[in-house]
């Protein structure tokens, strides 16, 4: 698991290789730590986390501004509410 700052207000959480519940748990905890309006890019390859992260964002009001997937790896860019 790696968290890095890509630029001001943009962070990346890489949880490739992690199974449930880690991707959604780390996503929630990292979102709690960044500021409203900041972007979190989550990189994961556990397919079932896709639905859980989407549901988490809907519940908290965060906007998923971009969804990409390729070869079993998913990249979600989330704007914190």
């Amino acid at each position: 698991m790696k968290v890095k700052k890509l630029e001001d207000g943009v962070y990346q959480l890489d949880v490739k290789g992690y199974v449930c519940p880690h991707p959604q748990l780390y996503t929630m905890k990292t979102l709690e730590k960044i500021k409203s309006g900041d972007i979190l890019e989550v990189v994961f390859d556990n397919p079932s986390s896709e639905e859980s992260i989407t549901a988490l964002c809907n519940k908290e009001g965060h906007e998923i501004v971009e969804k990409r997937s390729d070869g079993g790896t998913f990249v979600y860019r989330i704007k914190k509410a």
Binding site: C20, L25, Y26, S48, A55
Partner: protein, 456 residues
């Protein structure tokens, strides 16, 4: 346009299906009675396709509810169970059900608790572990391995599990709610009322209200209020009871994929019961062990039976693999009640329920390949440890409760056995303990990251 990797994925997906078709024909060519095994295999494939497509994991029902406040899977499994319970009542009325209730007692709660800890650590329940292996998940492979051998060792070592079964679990009463209230075979209306409505659907509605009020309501009502505020002239809004009903319905339908998968799984599970009972009538067997004995094949129990539930089940056939391997290596596994007296240790290729598990893995693999989601994920040391421990805990919990999230909960509740709810509550308690641990662990790891996050 499909590129090379897409063509490869399609090739592998259809090769797997083709291979299973060839295997099915081979079974039939050996003896027509082996269509019984083939039926288990293809229902396994159907479960695997749907589990992967719907991301259907019973572990996530409790875990995501507790850990991140997400209700989608909690709702999904309940919908699957409500649908299945109606089908089960109809099948029971026409003597087409293979279901039998389990002994009722605190062992279901305790087993569920241990299982619940294991499923959160392993990252998937018993059925979830199988479909995730189909997605190429290495952690789930480790969890399955320890579940296989952990169970086999657990039921044999020291003889205490025999004592538990003989002196405590087997003497417990086993009944469906309809039997308890009205006696044996009371008719369709009474079975629908007691087994489906009272034992399954009403408790589900109570749990939905609990999930809505405690977890989902705050976020949903906030969204509804925002929508209303956007259209209100002065920006002031008040939410009404009809908004609450709208919010409740939104919670149930929030993930269409999970809800649709739930309905389809419920229907498939019903057809599975129907198919197995019809095959039993067709071949004149009450248990597949009778067919194996007639064919001169080994591995049946002292009663002449093997594990043959006649419905969706996961863990016992896995325990049998471990027992079979250890038995072949010289550890006598047939001198205990679990294998020796009831479930037997047939060769894996003649083990009917095991082919169902094989089908789940390959069905999920086909769906993951078709959806570009298959990827081999080598576990890190940390995940390997969680997978190892998770498999051991799930195996122990499943043996104590005489089943897992499927056999001790899903099938049992839908069949009208109130004991299934004890397992479910136990799973929730176990998930709570394990989620607390995971929360602490993930906080610790995040703090160790050398990044500058400006905390609000």
């Amino acid at each position: 346009m499909a590129d090379d990797s897409d063509r490869k994925r399609m090739f592998w997906a259809f090769s797997i299906l083709g291979l299973m078709l060839i295997v099915s024909l081979w079974y039939y060519s050996v003896h027509p009675v082996f269509m019984y095994i083939v039926t288990y295999l293809w229902f396994g494939v159907a479960y695997g396709l749907l589990l992967q497509w719907g991301r259907f994991c019973f572990a996530s029902a409790w875990r995501d509810l507790i850990a991140i406040g997400v209700t989608r899977m909690f709702v999904g499994i309940m919908i699957a169970m409500a649908v299945f319970s109606i089908i089960m009542a109809v099948l029971a009325e026409y003597r087409l059900s293979t279901f039998h209730p389990g002994p009722l007692g605190p062992h279901e709660l305790i087993g569920g608790l241990i299982f619940g800890i294991g499923m959160v650590l392993a990252g998937g329940c018993a059925s979830g572990t199988l479909y995730k292996i189909g997605e190429g998940n290495g952690t789930s492979m480790i969890a399955l391995t320890t579940m296989i051998f952990g169970q086999a060792i657990f039921v044999d070592i020291g003889g205490w599990f025999d004592q538990l079964l003989r002196n405590y679990i087997f003497p417990r009463p086993a009944f469906t709610l309809a039997e308890k209230l009205y006696g044996k075979h009371p008719g369709l209306a009474k079975m629908l009322l007691a087994d489906s409505l009272l034992n399954t659907i009403i408790p589900i509605l109570v749990l939905f209200v609990f999930a809505y009020v405690v977890v989902a309501r705050k976020g949903i009502i906030r969204q509804i209020a925002q929508q209303k505020a956007a259209s209100a002239a002065n920006g002031e809004v008040k939410t009404s009871f009809s908004d609450e009903l709208r919010g409740f319905w939104y919670m149930i339908t929030a993930s269409k994929r999970t809800t649709i998968a739930g309905v389809l799984i419920g229907i498939i599970a019903g057809f599975h019961v129907l198919a197995m009972q019809n095959l039993r009538y067709k071949f004149g067997i009450g248990n597949f062990g009778h067919a194996l004995t007639a064919l001169g094949l080994e591995g049946v129990s002292k009663r002449g039976t093997v594990f043959d539930p006649g419905y969706w089940y996961i863990t016992t056939q896995e325990a049998q693999v471990g027992g079979w391997v250890l038995h072949k290596l010289g550890w006598n596994m047939m001198d205990n009640i679990y294998f020796g007296m009831s479930n037997g240790l047939p060769d894996p290729w003649w083990n009917p329920a095991l082919l169902m598990s094989v089908g789940i893995v390959f069905g999920a693999m086909v769906m993951a390949l078709l959806n570009r989601e298959f990827k081999f994920k080598k576990p890190t040391k940390e995940l390997a440890l969680w997978g190892f421990l998770g498999g051991v805990f799930m195996g122990m919990g499943a043996r104590i409760a005489l089943g897992c999230n499927i056999g001790a909960f899903y099938i049992r509740v839908a069949g009208g056995d109130p004991g299934g709810w004890l397992f479910f509550l136990g799973m929730g308690g176990g998930a709570l303990v394990a989620v607390r641990f995971m929360n602490w662990w993930s906080e610790r790891k995040l703090k160790a990251q050398d990044i500058e996050i400006e905390i609000e």
